[in-house]
């Protein structure tokens, strides 16, 4: 084991007593010839870790242990660190602009560590510099130039050549491709990848750029607010993120194969001077429970992955197993029976947007109604948050119903013509017996504002026939939101609206979904529409789910013939 970091804590003094804990208990190791990525949002503490590995923090700030081949580095004198920097651990810093001294030629700066650390003569050092420059793709003329005469990409290469000059055991790359255009970035990545393969060097890549980490590393550690939340093999973590934060981070990342619009993680990273108690991610987490607010989750191994989550990672919110529904026409003959849904099985995870697409009559609506408990299935079961919805009765059923809401296709049918807007939106609260009448009124007004409707007395007193289709669908949405559900099943929620109103309502739905952290099952026949917001797409055909996969995969590389037909039939302009 070459580099071992254990319980690394970095604290910056703020005002005498309090300190800012930028890195809090991070542990990882790096063997020769392997690579590790550390990803996280800006301010998560990535660069602080990099600087700690090079002893660049003021004495006393760093606690815990950093061992290189068994030798403890924390607490070394500046003198001792100097022997380690460049020779054993080298850093390619993030800020290319300031890392090079503007008054010296680039070549001299690359040669400097060679002379200083390896004791080479100026001529020998220059010769090595030329060789290094060639390796990183620089020409001799670049070495004779001053830093300001080089482009950003060339400067980055020069810095890389400097870092490689003493053949370090560990190379730390801090945002290796920031500020580079895509082409020079691709060349640089190819170079780094080659370096990693040929040398027995350990590579630590620190980046918020997931593509860089995916390209360069074998393992990845996800850093959130100074703590690791998930560690595992890079390909597996990116393919199947388990921690809610990793999941959100991956879904916020733009990618050439993503057809969907980007989604953010709700909220903002915590202030490092004042982190939230318990799990640091809980204010932004869609599945946080009480324990998450009180107790810090330890990083523990769950199914081959290290995850810091009390719940063991992303939870399955709703699971349907082998759902069946048969409708008999006129009560009678077996040949007149319609198998609307045949053995449908699906999962919806916390905070996920899943689209269920299929042509009219494929059983989408029937399946949706069984999922929310409106229609009893003939076979199979629906499990919501670990409890069986299909078997729930009485109080238990009432409680479970508040967790899952349906937005039906026809808003005109979904509200009583006898009730006012206020009564419609308040009805779920009345049924569930939540709050005092005043609190209910307040919740109603808040829900109406959330969906962009006025909460004026005049509007509250209106009835269904006085509203437009778009307004009514928003009222239905507000009504679904007052109970603060975990999952909304929206059955063709915009098909009865005109196109501009469709776009507004879909955007609103998506916005609320992200903000509230709820899961959304969007039932639609319109692939063009759902690909914009769906994380995952299920394709239904004749009562069965025939294809399932990430939205981009379904849209770009459909496997089932029916999916291809749906794609071809999707509307196009021109």
């Amino acid at each position: 084991m070459m580099l071992m970091v254990q319980d690394l804590r970095v604290t910056f003094p703020l005002d005498g007593k309090t300190g800012l804990r930028a890195v809090d208990g991070v542990s990882f190791d790096l063997a020769p010839g392997t690579s590790l990525g550390i990803v996280g949002e800006t301010g998560a503490g990535k660069t602080t870790i990099a600087r700690a590995l090079l002893g660049l923090h003021p004495p006393g700030c760093v606690q815990g242990s950093i061992r290189l081949d068994g030798r403890e580095l924390v607490g070394l004198s500046e003198e001792a660190w100097r022997a380690i920097r460049w020779r054993r651990i080298a850093l390619v810093p993030q800020s290319v602009g300031t890392a090079l001294d503007p008054v010296y030629r680039v070549g001299d700066q690359i040669a400097e560590p060679l002379r200083y650390h390896l004791g080479l003569s100026p001529a020998e050092a220059w010769g090595r510099s030329l060789e290094l420059a060639r390796r990183v793709g620089l020409e001799p003329r670049h070495l004779r130039a001053y830093p300001h005469q080089l482009s950003g990409g060339e400067k980055q290469r020069a810095l890389l050549a400097m870092a490689l000059s003493c053949a370090p055991d560990v190379l730390v790359l801090d945002e290796p491709t920031s500020g580079q255009d895509m082409l020079s970035r691709a060349r640089l990545l190819g170079l780094l990848d080659a370096l990693r393969r040929e040398g027995g060097m350990g590579l630590l890549v620190i980046s918020h750029d997931l593509a860089v980490v995916a390209r360069l590393t074998e393992r990845v550690a996800v850093l959130y607010a100074g703590q690791l939340v998930e560690v595992g093999p890079t390909a597996e973590v990116f393919q199947d993120p388990r921690h809610p934060y990793t999941w959100g981070l991956l879904h916020a990342y733009p990618d050439m194969s993503t057809a969907r619009d980007l989604r953010g993680i709700r909220g903002a990273p915590p202030d490092p001077a004042n982190p939230p108690p318990g799990c640091r991610f809980h204010p932004r987490c869609t599945q946080a429970i009480d324990r998450c607010r009180r107790e810090e989750p330890p990083l523990r191994e769950i199914g081959g992955r290290w995850i810091a989550c009390h719940l063991g990672g992303l939870q399955t919110l709703l699971r349907a197993e082998g759902l069946r529904k048969t409708f008999s026409v006129d009560g009678g003959e077996p040949e007149e029976r319609v198998e609307a849904v045949r053995e449908a099985t699906l999962d919806i995870r916390e905070g996920e947007v899943v689209a269920l697409v299929g042509e009219t009559g494929s059983g989408k609506t029937t399946l949706g109604q069984m999922l929310v408990g409106l229609l009893p299935p003939d076979g199979g079961r629906v499990v919501l948050e670990g409890r069986e919805l299909t078997a729930a009765r009485g109080k238990e059923r009432r409680a479970m119903m508040s967790r899952i809401q349906l937005i039906p296709q026809d808003p005109f049918d979904a509200v009583s013509p006898r009730l006012t807007v206020a009564e419609m939106v308040r009805e779920p609260l009345d049924i569930q017996g939540i709050g005092t009448p005043e609190e209910r009124e307040a919740k109603v007004r808040q829900a109406l504002r959330t969906v962009g409707l006025p909460a004026s007395p005049d509007f509250l007193a209106r009835r269904a026939h006085e509203l437009s289709g778009g307004q009514l669908q928003r009222v239905v949405l507000a009504r679904a939101l007052v109970l603060e559900p975990k999952l909304i099943v929206a059955d063709e929620p915009v098909s009865m609206l005109d196109p501009s109103e469709q776009a507004r309502v879909i955007n609103l739905l998506k916005e609320i979904q992200t903000e509230r952290g709820l899961a959304l099952l969007l039932i639609s026949h319109d692939l063009a529409l759902v690909r914009k917001i769906a994380d995952r797409i299920l394709v239904m055909h004749r009562g069965q789910i025939v294809e399932e996969g990430p939205g981009n995969r379904i849209v770009t590389r459909p496997e089932h013939e029916h999916t291809r037909m749906l794609l071809e039939a999707a509307p196009r302009l021109g």
Binding site: R397, M401, P499
Partner: protein
Amino acid sequence: MPGTFSPLEGERLSGNFHMRPLNGELGFGLILLALCSVVAVLAPVLAPYDPRAFSGQPLERPSRAHPLGTNDVGQDILSELIYGARVSLTVALAAGAGTVLLGLLVGGMAGYAGGWLDQALMRLVDGMLSLPRLPLLILFATFLGSGLPQTIAVISFLFWPTTARVVRAQVQSVRQRGYVRMARQFGASHLYVFLRHILPAIGPLIAYGLVTSAGQAVAMEAGLAFLGLGDPLVQSWGLMMRFALNLPGLFLTDRWLWWLLPPALCVTLLILALALMGIGLEQNLNPRLARRWR
């Protein structure tokens, strides 16, 4: 076509209805009924005598003291007539309500629950409807005795099936409406759904049922009393007619004009009032439903 869906169209298609302002029939019926009710309530004030008191000579002709004369035992006919309104209205209200309640219970349950319960209850209704009512009414009345409560019970028992059928049909239609099913989705109990959504939706239908059943009840009660199957101690219009007709040679003189005709007219007017209200309410209902009602 998206965006062009009319809510009114949806309402009409789904068999829902709103109360419209009063129409002529409903208004006229209401006035007649109100008149009758005022008379019934103010009977002690309006009636010149206690209807049971022997306030004059038997069979007096109309005079200032007895505007409609007296009957064969010397009781004031006008006072009898005025107090008789109370009996008829009580029967109308109680039997009408009884009919509607039973019909609502059976029809509501059948329509809401569906399945085997619906089948069983509807076969029962079919059975009840196939029975001849009047002979059965006479049979029951004879059997159960002749008190007013018995009369009311018998009428309610015989007339609920019609209401049950109509209620069931409407409940079946309303139950499938999105907002009713959505209420279940919010976790509502069946009782809540029934009381909060189904009942208001079939409200106008219930009003219509109440009015028509009440009219039938008035006629039935009068008929029973006329046949001597009513309570001989409760002086209803039917009983008055019976006593009048019992007098041998009633039609030989003009006595029938003030003894037989007034109660007969009163019964007719009350039934007319209720029937007019029924017609008025019917016009507010879905035409398809109104046809089914008959």
